[in-house]
Subunit: 214 residues, 4 copies
């Protein structure tokens, strides 16, 4: 009996007997030497799209920010609390990551909420509504296009939001500077939960394509 | 050649041939039916403490928010953007998770920054400084206590911050209500990167102990 | 020396020694008994998307209409010349096909012209401009959406045009009636020239998906 | 299970494992670089006379218009929808094809309908009747000639219609000009479904002869 859900305790037992047992040296080294991940991933909280799983990443490899719909708000040095900006600052300034990957995914509940504002459960704070309103202009443009199917509108906004977040990354002066100097790459990716497909954004055109992996 | 770091592409290939191949049906079912995770985890961005790894979780099991130092700010329905509150709202109101676990970890860079404000790299926005100032009163009290070693101060603030976040969770009216009705549990946990140990917070006392897992 | 391009004559020689030699009986039988294809395909003139090739079809299997951008205009019994409507009438009324498949494809020049009217070579008749103006309302709605990349706008209109043509098929009274009686199916498909992928339209939602073929 | 006839899905599987697998590079190059076919073929929708099969053509080689009885109506810049003229314009003006081949065939149902107007299934629109009325003067002259057998009348009109379409091609000012400049050739051909014979039209006399192919 612990004050932790049984399933998590059981999973933790597997971790200790499996992965930790196999990678003990790696964990000890990472504890001693500190983390030095080459890549930061901005991903969604969704339970079906964990970056470490999709990229088969070991301990110490990915610095991972996860929020609803993997959004990066624009740079706003206004003295307020910005959890996303704080994580970016830590990754880029302190850890000096070489890559930032914004990874979205299909059937995203946050994107669905953005396309149908007000349709979710009512909440006094309406934090989801406010958070997703970052995408409101795009969502309005897409949701009015009835020539697209509901599924197409959803995918379109999921991909637009990745391009939007990458554009916002470039509003952070030091990110822009490092990218211009060739010391930092910005990538976009979109994960299809159903098929497992990963679509990668072309940096030139913004189009998403499936890389050849065989 | 893709616009994605090579290591991630290579890892994705492993995922497709390994985990996705083995769990194709599960992914398809999760795509069709939507996610229904029982647990939300609030964790740190740190590359050494991915919840899915530590809890050996499969797709669809954990809804995961990750920010620097796994902080939950207090409830603030002020119409501003709050990514953490948005994720909580989505998990509790839409997905109706049954558990929220705040998981901290040892050697946390965010906590270190809170204990030594101004020691990190300067940044015009100073988003990290602002973000960690949520812990400022606690950090001040701990950092002045020279009876504790540096390591003890670090661990102390890591655990204080978990209790602080759990206390803030209870400032969200619907979280408080659901916990009181026995429909939602709030847990704290602390992961030791070096030894792999997981310390679980006692809900009564706030103490952290290692559960028996054998 | 014949009055036929050399390449075609050379290809015809291959046909006689290869496919015709192997299928002589089938050709004779089809000459004697007449054609009785089960399926009509409405496809584009594009040199990269021949239905017989993509569907590996033998003689007698597919009745194929090909025009620019595989468009079906709406039913218009106005006494004018309508080559598309004439082909539909022949396929459905005389040949009694059981399926009609509208097959579009990626990188379609007609669709590109519809998205950028007036950008093609000037022509006194401007038959392309007029023909593609069937899609003008959709093209206007898509081309103004700068949140989508050029490639995404192109793909979007390619798929919208397939749904449009299928909707127009249903304006032909006997096609509608036969479909309602379950004697005729209408399908949509989109061929990706680069990858060879065939995306099939879901009849319920209008979404395009890749069928499993292994 | 897809919304595509089983036979087509099965054929598509063959294509992917066969022709596409063998010609992947060609398809990719054609996608990247665009199509540049040297030849346009105007052929009939008939399921037994696919140009790519008869001319053993690879991807990118033939730009193919197919309508009932492979007819080219006369040039008519009247602002109406003309699918055949639109395809010609696209092939000649945009793709700058070097050859246009009008290919008819034996036992053509459209020609049969032209020789016996009103014998087909009644249809309110009667699009076939209207479409084939392009050949009405010729058809009347031939059908009244009882010195010819029924088979001879059919073949005669099939070949007359090829000459008629080629004459109409020359009513398009830019086609006439390009032919006069020696930059575009116009050819006629007639395919015998039963024997596989291809008869090529002599440009001087209009006669059809079988080329030597051995």
């Amino acid at each position: 009996m612990t004050d932790l859900p049984d399933q998590l305790l059981s999973g933790y037992r597997n971790f200790m007997q499996g992965r930790y047992a196999a990678e003990t040296d790696r964990y000890r080294e990472l504890a001693r030497g500190g983390q030095a991940p080459a890549t930061m991933v901005v991903a969604c909280c969704d339970s079906r799209s964990a970056p470490e799983v999709i990229f088969d990443a070991g301990p110490g490899e990915l610095f991972v920010l996860r929020n609803v719909a993997n959004l990066v708000p624009p740079y706003a040095p206004d003295g307020e609390f910005h959890s996303t900006s704080a994580a970016l600052e830590f990754a880029v300034q302190s850890l000096k990551v070489k890559n930032i990957v914004v990874m979205g995914h299909g059937r995203c509940g946050g994107i669905r909420a953005a396309l149908a504002p007000g349709s979710g459960p009512a909440s006094p704070g309406d934090f989801i509504g406010k958070w997703m309103s970052l995408l409101a202009p795009s969502a309005d443009a897409v949701s009015g296009n009835t020539l697209l199917t509901e599924g197409e509108r959803q995918t379109a906004l999921e991909r637009i939001s990745i391009r939007y977040s990458i554009a916002n990354l470039r509003t952070f002066p030091y990110i822009k500077a490092l990218e211009d100097e060739g010391q930092l790459t910005l990538s976009g990716a979109w994960f299809d939960i159903s098929t497992g497909e990963l679509w990668v954004m072309d940096r030139e055109t913004g189009d998403f394509r499936r890389p050849e992996i065989d």
